[in-house]
């Protein structure tokens, strides 16, 4: 099949950037979307043009490195699929496609379709963990967790941090990402001691990073390649509000000995 591609080309973070049109022949329906771009890039290099930069790594939909917007939809038309696992059979001959990077103030463009998502790391660093230094754990089975809760936690933990939720959100909000981690840990007994502090800190960090607010629109849930649900955002809101209302100033630690 034959495709017309309009791809966002931007040389550097400070460059203006613009859509550039390419046409590509002999696209096989068995190719993944990224393999199609590989073919385009090989052709560009041979012609002496700089290849299109795009992030990718595992190409099996789990590392979360890849992702861009295809025809206005983050990760393209197939639900529950990252662009690396999206195959060309989802498109038809002579289709015209528009490829753009995730767009958000908190995700500045690095080059072409590559954006900087380190804001996500800082949100996790603000509280997306259980403070348990290596070696301080009790026996695994000493913490009993109802299967249903463990399953819910797992569903929330399945987030791959790709950023599609931010990209699809009209407000460029990171609520689904943040809510997924707050839910994952907040649902488990291990996460209880820091549950509310975690919500307060992670939400605050998301705001510092410049992500927008959630207006409960639901586009994030629809484009999420791992099916993370909107309910996680409600859980985040709940933990945040309870945490904020019941907040107490930390007490000074008494010196021992």
């Amino acid at each position: 099949m034959r495709l017309t591609l309009n791809i966002w080309r931007q040389k550097s973070p400070t460059d203006q950037g613009a859509m550039v049109r390419y046409s590509l022949d002999n696209v096989s329906e068995h190719m993944s979307f990224l393999e199609m771009l590989d073919v385009l890039n090989e052709q560009l290099i041979t012609k002496g043009e700089e290849p299109v930069a795009f992030d990718h790594d595992c190409r099996e939909g789990i590392c979360g490195m890849c992702g861009f917007v295809i025809n206005g939809v983050a990760h393209g038309p197939r639900r529950g699929t990252t662009v690396c696992q999206l195959h060309m059979r989802s498109f038809h001959d002579n289709e015209e496609l528009f490829l753009e990077p995730w767009r958000a103030a908190a995700f500045p463009v690095v080059k072409d379709l590559v954006v900087n998502r380190s804001a996500f790391d800082r949100i996790i660093g603000a509280g997306g963990y259980v403070s348990v230094p290596t070696g301080s754990a009790t026996d695994g089975n000493s913490i009993l967790i109802p299967k249903a809760e463990s399953d819910m936690a797992m569903s929330a933990a399945a987030c791959i941090g790709c950023g599609a939720c931010v990209a699809a959100c009209p407000n460029a909000s990171a609520s689904l990402f943040t809510g997924a981690k707050i839910s994952h840990l907040g649902l488990l007994p291990q996460g209880q001691p820091e549950r509310h502090a975690r919500a307060l800190n992670m939400v605050a960090q998301a705001a510092v990073e410049g992500f927008g607010n959630c207006t409960n629109i639901g586009e994030c849930e629809a484009v999420c390649p791992k099916g993370i649900q909107l309910e996680n955002i409600a859980r985040m809101n709940r933990d945040y509000l309870v945490g904020a209302i019941t907040y107490r100033e930390p007490q000074a630690e008494a010196g021992a000995g």
């Binding site: 103030a105 460029a172 307060l200 607010n213 859980r235 709940r238 933990d239």
Partner: protein, 230 residues
Amino acid sequence: MSSSATSPARTARMFDAPVAKKAVMALSGLVLFGFVLVHMLGNLQVYLPPGPDGRYALDVYGETLHKSALVLWGARSFLLLTALAHIVSAIQLAQLKNAARPTAYVKQTAIVSTYASRTMYWSGPIVLAFLIYHLLHFTTGQAHPDFQHMHVHENVIKGFSVWYVSLFYIVAMSMLCMHLYHGVWSMFQSLGLAHPSYTPKLKLAAKAFAAIVAAGNISIPLSVLAGLVK
């Protein structure tokens, strides 16, 4: 833990976070929704026949509401403050939204979201503009050529007899319907209340309430224009 949470001015900081602003939106929205619903029910008294003393039910109702100045102005101030909170939060959230995506997509396609949810920032101001007109029209009378203080029923009939006034009311109520269509469900989510078995029912109920409020209110100008209410 990062330092952001442990600073002393907790309450002030708390409202910095979008989550808290959304909670303010939700709580104020809840109050305003309650008001709109009761207001609509009150309005429906326009359909009641005049009492034995020949007075219209709506006029009696109006009088009852005005009995105590304290209650009246208490309620009015409360509603005004609530509306202000709703509006201020909305403005702040809109600013956040614009700052969060400075460069727009060349192409953006919505795949699941409702038109209503994406247009809250439009339906809201339109409802606000309507509200101001509505107050000038039926409460203070500046926008009503034949306004008579406390003659509520007559004011309504005369007001709605002008077709373009009625049309504006109908359009505004459709906007309110859309606003509630998303807002009534959304406030539960913003307050952290969601559950796979209740949320779908809640969404249905929200839609029903939005439709009821709008239908109740829209029926009045329509009935006046059709000559069903005199």
